[in-house]
Subunit: 319 residues, 2 copies
DNA sequence: CCATCTTATGCTCACGGAGAGTATAAATGG
DNA sequence: CCATTTATACTCTCCGTGAGCATAAGATGG
């Protein structure tokens, strides 16, 4: 970084010039399946060079997505910025800075005739879907391979630490599954060389763990996005960005479950939603359903103005 | 942004080249005062061009800080990336991308003879310190000015919305103070032109609200860092990065209070710390104290390996 | 028409965490 | 010895949350 702080309003780019890329994790939920927008046959996230004709990064991303989908992007949040020195390893290739964003939409909003597709995100992270319990291949395939990797550590202490890390992130040894550790799990599998992208020497030692790979570090970026979203839905009403204008409480629940990758207690879910006054009845009832018909609800946009957003966990004094 | 996703491994920079800057919010807590590292007489955060000789942004930041302070940087976290088209407004000046980081250290680790200084962060955000109750000037100065600003909105509805926003972020009208809304408060004051930095036409209409200004958007970046840190200390044991090797529970509590800007219930704070097994006794007692001497504790680094980190708020099913 | 299935919706219970207060112990300086 | 300051141990009360029971309201098949 800097030589000296004084030089911060620094000299024009010389050897210092880079290119800026945007990478987008665009999420939608359709029929209980979380999907992401992909290009290149599902092997990459939509991305492209940043055009400085826009006022801010956020504006640039919105403009681009709207051009692609024909509809405004509901919720946008910056994820992370990566810097590569010469992405391809070629020393002369330009340095690049990749700025990644998370965006929430609805699949049906996307116009036809684009090269982009929607892919289920569990295609890329099959071990993340615990809605029907932990996938069998975690115990059958992943856990043994991780154990082997842990045992390959040089010292017994390091072996224990490695395995403890595996057990925590994957909920092994009777630990609870923590759905938010998406990135940690991906990084662990990467370190253990169980991810195709990790084997730099041109994809031999092919996919040792199920899950579709992606270009460069796109799957890591996706993991970051999923983790962020799974954390966010717990303290911010962002799920509604993924819902149609009217929905039943079960549909809402299914969307949350799709994102979280685990099931939710129905009655408690409803209690939570209603006591927070997040929704209001439309008066209409859902049609075409099995079982007792459900009321239709809509999101109360007013709550966004009414309430602040943060949570607390300190033993605060009210005095 | 992108014209077409296909072009993502895009052409070398032409009109697209930018410079990459790092901006650091380096925090320490000394004697119950949260401090940040500043340069230029306290009017700017340390920053400088990113050198692509490093493997990653994080590495670059660490290396730079270690060169400055002579000690490793405990905790580092990326904050946000901003893009400006021509920072100075000069259309021909290079576009820049500023990547900001939050870092935690201890003041005494910094070597002497550097141009950097430590400034109390409440010098820049005096309205954020509620340890002795809400500062009087919030009710006396800020609230009335915000009321005026709210009333200046075109329609009655907008006026009410504006005021509601003010009341929420500043805890007015008998609302609770939410210490995490640091950025929201800064942005609100900015919008209401109560912040010198907001008055683009060369600092007339000088500081209408107490608090030291900063260069460019540095105070906004600092607000982002404070907000992030205030949120983080509640669910991650990062305070310990700011503590000496051994400390009393009261010292620990004072540090948390310094960061949060509000007081904490002593007994409950201890209960929380101890039941989470975050610390262990050193056996020694604190010297040079008034009142009954306190036990000295040290951070149990093992907890970082033992436990995962995330929290939950969904009505999950355990079955 | 009834039995059964499915989903919707209302209500209760138990447990644990968090805010708050009381009480006692151990040091210091007059 | 007493006032003061800080340390430390308990207790009490709410309330949020996980969990389960019970009932309602529709469809479907015999």
């Amino acid at each position: 970084m800097a030589r000296s702080p004084q030089k911060k309003t620094s000299a024009p780019a010389s050897g210092n010039a880079v290119t800026a890329d945007l990478v987008a994790v665009l999420v939608a939920v359709t029929d209980g399946t979380p999907k992401i927008m992909t290009i290149a046959g599902g092997s990459a996230l939509p991305s492209g060079p940043f055009e400085f004709t826009h006022r801010s990064l956020q504006t640039a991303l919105r403009a681009w997505v709207e051009a692609q989908t024909g509809h405004p992007l509901g919720y946008v949040e910056q994820l992370y910025t990566f810097a590569d020195r010469g992405r391809s390893g070629d020393a002369r290739s330009p340095h690049s800075v990749s700025i990644s964003y998370l965006g929430l939409t609805r699949e049906d909003r996307v116009g036809e005739g684009f090269e982009a597709h929607w892919s289920g995100w569990y295609d890329y992270f099959p071990w993340e879907d615990h809605r029907d319990g932990a996938p069998a291949f975690i115990a059958k395939t992943i856990a043994p391979k991780l154990k082997t990797w842990a045992k390959a550590a040089p010292s017994p202490t390091l072996q224990r630490e490695r395995w403890q890390r595996c057990a925590i992130t994957f909920g092994l040894d009777d630990r609870d599954w923590n759905e938010e550790l998406v990135l940690q799990r991906y990084e662990l599998l990467w370190e253990a060389s169980l991810i195709p992208e990790a084997n730099h020497s041109r994809g031999r030692e092919a996919s040792v763990v199920p899950g579709k790979p992606m270009t460069a570090d796109h799957r890591r970026i996706l993991a970051t996005g999923i983790a962020r979203l799974r954390a966010k839905i717990k303290y911010r009403p962002v799920v509604f960005e993924l819902m149609p204008a009217e929905f039943t409480l079960l549909q809402l629940q299914r969307s949350v479950e799709a994102l979280a990758g685990r099931l939710v207690h129905k009655q408690n879910f409803r209690r939570l939603i209603e006591q927070q006054e997040l929704v209001e009845e439309t008066g209409a009832m859902a049609a075409d359903t099995v079982g007792r018909p459900a009321k239709l609800f809509r999101f109360r946009h007013a709550v966004l103005a009414e309430r602040a957003v943060a949570g607390t966990k300190l033993p605060l004094s009210r005095t």
